[in-house]
Structures are given as C-alpha cells and as structure tokens.
C-alpha cells in the first residue's frame, strides 16, 4: 500500500496546479456544507430552546376546553385555583418549576398610537420568568403586589417611543366578553433577543391580570419546566386526569419537532447534491489523468500489473485528493463555524412561523456527528465517483494502451 501511496502522491504532483484546484473544489464544498450543517444545527437549537423557554415550556396543563388560538379568559376555559396545582406539580422530582399563567388579548395605546398585544399574567418570583428578568434593558422587574406596573418588550417600547415611567393605556378582553381599559406605568423594558416575540407581549403580575380581566382566581395554564425535557412524557403521564389537558413540548411544537427530526435527512440530501457536483471535478481530473497516462498504463500492464491493481492505483490517487480536499475543507468549515458560532449571524426579526421562535442572531453550532457524517459522505462519494475512471484505466488492452502512446 505504501507503494501505491507513493506513486499516487507523485502522480498528483505531476500537475500540481490541477490537483490543487480539484482538491480545492472539494475543500470549498466541504467547508460550505460544514458551515451550513452548523448553521442549521444552531438555528434548530435556537428555535427549540427559544420556543420552549419563552412560549411552550416543557409541559402545559390547561383546561380540557382551552383553545390557545382564542386567548379567551372566559371562565369555562380556565383552570381554577392554579396555585395549588402548580405547587403540587413543582414538588415532583423531575420538575424544575411550575407556575400559573393567564393569557389574554389586548391593545396597548399611547397618544394616537396603538398595538395589539398578548397580555400575560405571571408570578414574578417564578424562575420560569428568568428570560424576561435577565433580559431587562431598562427599569426593574415586576413585583407580585404591583397593581399599576407593566413590563414591555424593547421593540414595542421603541415603536411606541416608550420609556420606563411612561404611562400607557391597556385594553383587555375580559372574561365576560366585554373590554376593560386601565392605565399602567412602564416598570421595565426587556428583550429576549427574539423581536417577533418581544414586540407582541406585555407582562402583568398574575394577581393584577386576574382582577383586570375578570378571571379572578383562574389561569390559562400551568407552565412547567423540567430538569430534563426528555422526561416530559413520563411527567405528563403522572399528572394526567382531573379534566385537564396535559400537553408535552413535542405535542405543543409539532412542526418544530418534525423539522428537527428531518434536519438530518435534509442535510444528508444537501451533502449528496453538493458533493456530487464536487466529485465530478475529481472525476474529470482523474479522467484527464487516465487519458494522459495511457502509455504508462500500457507499460504497467505489460510488466504484469493486473486490472484491480490499476484500479487500486487510481483509487489511491482519488483518496489522496479526497483526503487533502476534505481535510482542508473541514478545517475551513470548522473555522467558519467557530467564528460565526462566537459572533453569531444577525438576521433581525424573522417573525413567528408555525409557533417556532427564532432569535434575531443565530449562532452556528457544529456537532461531532454532523462533522463525521459529512467527512465520511464526502470521502465515500469522491471515491465511488472515481471508480469510473479507474475502471476505464484497468480495462485498457496493453497493446492499445502502448500503441495509443506512439
């Protein structure tokens, strides 16, 4: 094998520029695919984490008739005495936190400007609200007994030119189907890094939201975060019953889970397409090499080299090219992923699609699995594609090969 390697290496060195360009084509393809895989992984992780952390949690308990699309606070859709149920659930070992939330629809207005919003009543002390507490850019977080304070997102504050301490009017659809309006003071402005989410939501302390909307001692859901989201089915099974619907994160985010499940297949198909194209460059290089070396093949055959040995020689050349190209490409792809993984790629407000939330800045994340898959696929495709020129070389009749050279 050492001799094949030595010959292959020297043969590639005959047309150094051509070999380098061919290897470079594979390297660029590999680097881009690696970056795309890292970007896609980063996007999926961001989407999953953001959606679960801000929107769905790991488990939600709702009234059996609750419809999340209506945002109705009519009593028949709400859970009564949610604090007690939340406390019982929070006592479970697998549960990190469980907190009641009331969600109503409303309109924020100031002067002659207004914006439709989701009003969320939260228990301010719950660690489920850390993303908002930690994302404060101005002012302070809500206190449980605050009756006039409101927390708003940075994009909303910006679009309505609001600052901490400003007064706003908030209109809410109440439990009995009416609307109520009240003035609130902006206590704090937060950002979660997801503009689409931040511009459409305001927070009130749960007690205030309940009294304001007429829900009284009721909540839309109990929002549960687990220590490990993989335990969701187990915990959901343990708390089923009582006329409630218990939804796990995978049920709440079907589209996201589907996309996540298909992401590997998607990346694999993309790999096949791009590597198929780069493999043609390698095949072209080897074909040129076969035609240029017709006489040499004839000589080797004449001194007793068999067809499979000639195939091995050309496949070794292809493997060396593939190895060089893939190694350089992987290094480049890793460097790109590492750099953008640290600074992120800014996309701005991507909106909310199918319940998926995305951060404004996506951080590519390269997994070992994706790297190995790509490297192995690239190598296999290149070597497989090289079988054609190698077989072509091996099938040359010695006389014709020798004659073709004269």
């Amino acid at each position: 094998m050492t001799n094949y390697l030595k010959m292959a290496y020297r043969n590639l060195g005959r047309h150094r520029r051509r070999s380098i360009l061919s290897g470079l084509a594979l390297a660029v393809g590999t680097a881009l695919l690696m970056f795309i895989a890292a970007f896609f992984e980063g996007e999926m992780r961001s989407s999953m984490e953001t959606t679960l952390r801000l929107d769905s949690g790991h488990i939600q308990i709702r009234d059996a008739d609750y419809d999340p699309d209506k945002l109705s606070v009519a009593w028949e859709y709400l859970i009564e005495n949610p604090d007690q149920a939340a406390a019982q659930i929070e006592a479970l070992d697998q549960v990190q936190t469980a907190t009641p939330r009331l969600i109503a629809s409303g309109i924020v207005s100031i002067r002659d400007e207004s914006a439709g919003v989701q009003i969320m009543g939260i228990v301010p002390g719950s660690e489920a609200n850390d993303p908002y507490r930690n994302g404060l850019v101005a002012g302070s977080f809500l206190a449980a007994d605050d009756r006039e304070g409101i927390l708003i997102g940075y994009p909303l504050a910006e679009s309505l030119a609001l600052n901490v301490g400003d007064q706003i009017n908030l209109l809410v659809n109440t439990s009995d189907g009416d609307v109520d309006e009240q003035q609130f003071t902006v206590r704090g402005i937060f950002t979660t890094g997801t503009t689409a989410y931040d511009k459409g939501i305001v927070f009130l302390p749960l007690a205030k939201a309940q009294s304001f909307s007429g829900a009284e001692n009721r909540a839309s859901m109990i929002f549960i975060l687990l220590k490990d989201r993989e335990m969701a089915d187990e915990v959901a099974a343990a708390i089923q019953g009582g006329g409630y619907q218990v939804k796990t994160w995978s049920e709440l985010n079907e589209l996201l889970v589907l996309i996540n499940d298909f992401s590997n297949a998607y990346i694999f198909i993309l790999n096949l397409i791009v590597l198929g194209v780069t493999a043609t460059v390698i095949v072209n290089t080897l074909l040129m090499s076969v035609f240029e070396r017709t006489r040499e093949i004839g000589i080797l055959t004449a001194i007793g080299m068999k067809g499979r040995q000639i195939i091995t020689l050309f496949l070794t050349e292809a493997s060396l090219l593939a190895f060089g190209g893939i190694a350089f490409g992987s290094l480049l792809g890793w460097a790109l992923s590492a750099y953008f993984g640290s600074v992120g790629v800014y996309f701005g407000d991507l909106g909310i699609s199918g319940g998926m939330l995305l951060q404004d800045r996506i951080y590519p994340y390269l997994t070992l699995n994706a790297t190995i898959n790509l490297i192995v696929t690239a190598f296999i495709i290149t070597v497989l594609a090289s079988i054609y020129p190698a077989r072509l070389a091996s099938r040359m009749e010695p006389v014709e090969a020798l004659h073709g050279a004269n």
């Binding site: 005959r14 000589i299 004449a302 001194i303 080299m305 068999k306 009749e397 006389v399």
Partner: protein
C-alpha cells in the same frame, strides 16, 4: 527447449469496415538462449508478432504457446500473471514510469511478484550494477539520458529472471554509442544468464548481434536464418 511456439497465427485488425491482415499464417519456434531478430520493413508484422509472443495481444486464429502453456484463451489477468513471471519487455520509447526513480522502476516487477523488501533491494542493486547505473539509482527518467533510460528498461525487463525478453526497436531512439552499449549489455546478459532475447528491429546494429534472424514480409515469414 522451446520457450515460445507460434502455430499458424493470423492477426487481423479491423478499423471501421477496413480489415488489415498484419500476420497471415505465421509459425515460429523460439528456443531457450536464442538471440533472435525479427526483421522486415514497416508493416511487415514484426511488432505484431512480438506482441503476440509477449501475450500483449491475442491472435485472430492459430495458437501461441509460452513455456509449454497454451495462452490463446487466457483472460486479461491470466495473461498479466504469465507476463510478470515469464516475459520482460523493452520498448522503442523509453518506457519507464516518469514519477519513479530508476531504482523504483526496476523494483516495480519485483513488487508485483510479491518479493520482500530485502530481496527487492538486493536484486535491484544487482541489476543496476549489471547495466552500470548504480550511481543513477535515485534519478528519475527525466534526469537520465536516452541510453541510460533504455538501460534501466533492460534492467527492469530482467528483474524477475524471465525466461524471455522481448524488445521492440530497442535502439531506434538511441545514438550509435548508446545503441551499441545497450546491445552489448543485452548480449552479455544473454550469454551470462541464458535468457532468451527476441527483437523486432530493422536496425543493422541490432541485427549484427543476433544469432538468428527471422525476416517477415507482408505478414509472412519469408526467411529464417540461424547462420547469421
């Protein structure tokens, strides 16, 4: 002892609808230790006959027996196997692998024959010494003169101790001095080792060394002289 026996061989090439009969019923026996020249004008069939003896090609009809073995129906790989152990080649062009050094070119048939590194090294140095090229062992073909390259080719042809060496116009691209030198080496090896040599040539410098001259014309043997 018969090294090669050609029985009533024809070889017809087809190029499109045109048929060319390169050999037209040739029979020839080559015996051990002979130093034979196949001579004749261009197109007489000498190179074709040499290629058939070397199992590089197969006859359209007739049979080719090498070392007592019928070769006509052998597969490509079986012919390759037969060549690598039995037949050495020297071609008109300096048929060396350009990426390999003189040493490595001579080593190649030994590698294909599965010799150990130690065996290979000893044999290669012995052969390069035989063609007076030990000081050029690690030069590549483009660093050698035409004569030196052809001497390396001779050394390579001898590497596996073949029973027969076939040379197609071995001096055609060499000047007088180098041509003489290559022929001297081959003659010496023939006398020393008993290896059979068959040349296809029309070079008088080669013919004068031959102990047997077979003349071809229009695909037929018209003269076979052992008393050259």
């Amino acid at each position: 002892m018969e090294v090669a026996k050609i029985n009533n061989v024809t070889r017809v090439y087809k190029i499109g609808a045109v048929e060319t009969r390169a050999l037209n019923g040739v029979s020839l026996t080559i015996n051990t230790g002979e130093f034979t020249s196949l001579v004749g004008p261009s197109g007489s069939g000498k190179t074709t006959l040499l290629q058939l003896i070397g199992c590089l090609d197969q006859p359209t009809s007739g049979s080719v027996v090498i070392n007592g073995k019928e070769t006509t129906n052998l597969t490509r790989n079986q012919r390759a196997d037969l060549r690598k152990g039995t037949i050495g080649f020297v071609f008109q062009f300096f048929a060396l692998i350009p990426t390999l050094t003189a040493y490595e070119n001579v080593e190649m048939p030994l590698l294909l024959n599965g010799k150990t590194p130690a065996e290979r090294k000893q044999r290669v140095m012995e052969l390069l010494e035989g063609v007076d090229l030990t000081d050029r062992a690690h030069h590549r073909p483009d660093q050698l003169s035409g004569g030196q390259q052809q001497r390396v080719a001779v050394a390579r042809a001898l590497a596996t101790n073949p029973t027969m060496i076939l040379a197609d116009e071995p001096t055609a691209n060499l000047d007088t001095v180098n041509g003489e030198q290559v022929m001297e080496i081959m003659k010496r090896l023939n006398e020393k080792t008993g290896t059979t040599f068959v040349f296809a040539t029309h070079d008088p410098r080669v013919i004068k060394y031959a102990t047997r001259v077979v003349t071809l014309q229009d695909g037929l043997i018209v003269k076979d002289s052992k008393e050259h």
